[in-house]
């Protein structure tokens, strides 16, 4: 291929990756990146850690791993890539193969001719369209200017109370960033009935919400902000929701993002109804001379086979390499995504890949989930902690659909979810996960690791050996409704069960599993039984025994008492137990 002129619109994440990869393969190509911003090639995902104070200098987000600033000069000197900042792309003339740009500071417009064009236009935050949403104390955290503004306010002690609108990943990260080091009294307001809607299923989301509340973040769910107005007293703002009015010195909006595809649409490139630029497996748009990737495109979900919008700085980097290779004359493919996700708040990590149960059911799949709570390393190894892992599978095909989990040790959790993500990307089934050969040594895993255990549990559910209920069912039947015909059968030792027996009286029956086979007569036959143990393992064993004995009106509480505790139910009993 002859030397070519390549223009890249957008110089964060995807753009720089395309430019650098391409120049390494074809140093003779002329590569120009344009960006309307002053700052380029920064790690936007690190913004919460700058605001929290974990990073002392915002330059760390703009540096290479070898501590060089990724400035326009760096790209020109080290990479031989021309960079035009504060330069906005106005239109693409596909026939003339030219991009019209405006130099924002000096004013004039210019045409940049191209042989190949790359759209790396990214995403923009959803705006809060309520009265007062444009007040100066209402800020986003989508770019470095925002980050600097928020950190300046909190570090100067101007923020005693903050309201964060949106309990998605960024909203939660901001809650930690403001609360942890700076001690800002923080309230999250979320329109959905759970935190992390669309990311986690309600059960795990509830555990996350409890973790937030344990760290003094107030969470208001199913609440909509209707107005923001100047404050009357000590605080700059009042945030009005359908249910209350909150004082605030700062409001952070974290409502998610939308793809920047206006330029593509204006150039008559195919854009999806949701606004993502449509690309093929080579990441070419409907014009084969124009590539696109990162937050501005629509991806294909490898589990559903359907289009999906899933912005991610990490995907942008992988896609950037694919585009760079293809621009250089190669034939790299990007087949699609599985939606891998992780984040940390306070002492809790969460991770997910593939479909949640909610998403799977919405897709019309006949899906079921299994939850396992188990030590994140050998249970006898010092420092082990509980990990919570939920698997979603298709009932008929037994195909893996997704996984999500929580744990104090994020590295351990992310590793598990990544190994499942690898299987998801290959269309694997339950038995593949049951046999997945994760590495074993007591400091890092159990002999039967949680990823194998959760597959086995799902299989037991599908095969009818394990009939389960979830924490929400327990809450509904046993706590809220107190249905007279429902009792709990606690198959743990007497010491563990005692506080619950005290609390619930005859509704909480304690028969340790190892004595069960001699004590079936004590079990009322006219009641529905919820069998519980610490985690759901001994109760499964008990369930099998009950069924053998002809007692078939029993179900097993998934995750057992560990799940109840993590969700914040049964706090009264917990307290007694701790005393």
């Amino acid at each position: 291929m002859d030397q070519q002129r390549v223009v890249i619109i957008g110089a964060v994440a995807l753009g720089p990756k395309v430019a650098c990869r391409l120049k390494r393969l074809r140093p003779d190509f002329q590569v120009t990146m344009v960006d309307q911003d002053e700052y380029i090639s920064y790690g936007g995902c690190g913004i919460p850690y700058y605001i929290s104070g974990d990073l002392s200098d915002i330059k760390e987000l703009m540096s290479t791993s070898f501590h060089m600033l990724r400035t326009p000069e760096f790209f020109e000197q080290a990479k031989d890539v021309r960079v035009m900042t504060r330069t906005r792309a106005l239109t693409v003339d596909r026939r003339a193969k030219s991009v019209r740009v405006r130099h924002l500071d000096s004013g004039p417009e210019e045409d940049l001719p191209y042989d190949r064009l790359v759209l790396a236009t990214g995403s923009r935050p959803r705006r809060l369209s309520v009265p007062g949403g444009d007040l100066p104390q209402v800020l986003g955290v989508a770019n470095l200017q925002d980050a600097l503004a928020v950190r300046e306010r909190v570090s100067q002690g101007q923020v005693g109370k903050a309201v964060i609108i949106g309990a998605g990943p960024l909203g939660l990260e901001m809650a930690e960033a403001l609360g942890d080091l700076w001690g800002v009294e923080t309230t999250l307001v979320e329109i959905a009935a759970q935190v992390l809607p669309g990311v986690l299923d309600p059960g795990l989301a509830r555990m996350v919400a409890k973790h937030l509340e344990d760290h003094e973040v107030t969470v208001h769910l199913q609440e909509t902000v209707t107005e923001i107005r100047p404050g009357a007293g000590a605080h700059a703002l009042q945030v009005v929701t359908g249910k209350r009015t909150l004082d605030a010195d700062l409001v952070v909006t974290a409502l998610g993002v939308r793809p920047n595809s206006q330029l593509a649409a204006a150039a008559n490139l195919a854009v999806s109804p949701q606004g993502g630029i449509v690309v093929n497996h080579r990441l070419q748009t409907s014009d084969p001379d124009i590539y696109a990737g990162g937050d501005c495109i629509e991806n294909r979900h490898l589990v559903t086979g359907k289009p999906v919008y899933f912005p991610s700085g990490s995907l942008a980097n992988r896609q950037g390499r694919v585009i760079g290779t293809n621009l250089a004359g190669g034939d790299a493919q990007f087949p699609g995504i599985v939606g891998s996700f992780t984040m940390k708040i306070f002492n809790l990590a969460m991770a997910a890949a593939g479909l949640s149960l909610t998403a799977a059911l919405r897709e019309g799949l006949d899906a079921v989930s299994a939850l396992v709570i188990q030590a994140d390393r050998a249970h006898f190894y010092p420092g082990q902690d509980l990990m919570y892992l939920q698997l979603v599978v298709d009932k008929k095909t037994r195909r893996l659909l997704g996984a999500q989990g929580l744990g104090a040790n994020g590295d351990a959790l992310v590793g598990r979810v990544n190994s499942i993500a690898a299987l998801l990307s290959r269309g694997a089934g339950l038995e593949d996960l049951s046999n997945l050969e994760v590495a074993y040594s007591p400091p890092f895993a159990s002999a039967l690791d949680i990823v194998n255990a959760v597959a086995n549990t799902a299989e037991n559910i599908l095969d009818g050996y394990n009939r389960t209920v979830e924490v929400a069912d327990f809450e509904h039947c046993f706590l809220t409704e107190q249905a007279g015909d429902v009792i709990c059968l606690d198959v743990r030792g007497a010491a563990n069960a005692a506080p619950y027996v005290d609390l619930f009286g005859p509704r909480w029956l304690n028969i340790p599993q190892e004595t069960l086979k001699d004590r079936f007569a004590e079990i009322p036959t006219d009641k529905r039984l919820i069998v519980v143990c610490n985690s759901g393992v001994r109760s499964y064993e008990a369930l099998r025994q009950l069924e053998t004995a002809g007692i078939c009106n029993a179900v097993n509480l998934q995750g057992g008492v560990a799940a109840l505790k993590k969700t914040g139910l049964l706090q009264a009993a917990e307290k007694e137990e701790e005393d």
Copy 2:
């Protein structure tokens, strides 16, 4: 299927898993486990952590996660499984379907009839067959009796010096166990030219050896113990090798294990030349009524397709479930293994899956390896540390063959290797790993994670863009031989390069990468160049620039200065740098 009598020979790992799974599915089956030992169902992989003092009580290795001792009584009460300890299986009469056993304490023999039989006979340690190998201070660490004996001696202060024979995984774990808390002066003697032979390739193994030496474990490689004799002075023993005589109060043998297949062979079941019992995908032996799994069988390697012996407590658990399901009338499959491995010594974790480069080449595969050294989370995130990850791929097919790595954060490392293991088990290729969607958040990963980076590096090597040499080549050409025509081109900043320039003079040329394009004239054209940077990334960039400028006699040092440091080369320069 009618009720059946199932006899299981062996009650550690596989046996109990078979029994429990089977009883949950078919409570009506009569299940009997026999074991010649007194202790059953213990976590043998935890022995080093008992000896080290990490676990205070050996009972922790025999307990469930809910702190019940897995005694014969536990199995009878909680699982309805009959257990006969101190009972040795003598012969299997396949025609009569009966096992003859001897009660070791009381003496009599008995015939146990079976409908189905399970061989869970495990492995036995290789013995040291040299004069003095049977002295009382020479111990193995294969079972709980050994563990108790070793810990008793060290905890009573009887052991000032220890010699460990064999630098495989168990030998290394024992070196930490004896050295770390108890302060025993420990020497490892290994017949091979590296530690962890057959597990890691020489490059990473050398880093492990340095880590051992940094923690005051002496390592003698390529040395064979020829005799052990009573000591003359303060120490109980003298260990004589081909090269020296070592004092010791304790000798631990850790020479690996061999499958216990004598019973199977005597019953004319198929046994491989290496001694493993031959099984099919359902884990049936050549007699369909006899199943086998765990350390006594031969597995199929999913990468080579060939038989392999790979004992592992974790595999035993997975295989136990498959056997339990099949005994109950199911049709579970165990297709094979990829050889996943991990361990921790002192502050270093190592992990591997699939084939090492050594193993791949020995298999006749046209394989190549890539090494990447990169932060284990976002390089700007506090507490990040370096991870070392090597990938092995097939040159022609680009299929993934294996991965191995090191790192201070074991959970993070194991997670990476597990995600590659998942791909290996599915026959995936380089591009699958390049695009593998590992979850991203700055606390847990880089935007372009090390698993993607190592795939990209391998691709660049295969495509001829990155011509690499390894630390051993650097040592040979640049340090040992000091070939006059080889110079290093250090493309880092002047401050980083200075100590090396001081040390090597004109043989170490420093031109920072971002200035390279203006300074080609300074590079001698009559020399071979080894381009180095901190990790191999900037030097790759420089290599591409050099080639563009027509300078084609350059190669890139994989892992850069980070690899040299981790291996212990260039310690003089390191010291200067630290000053």
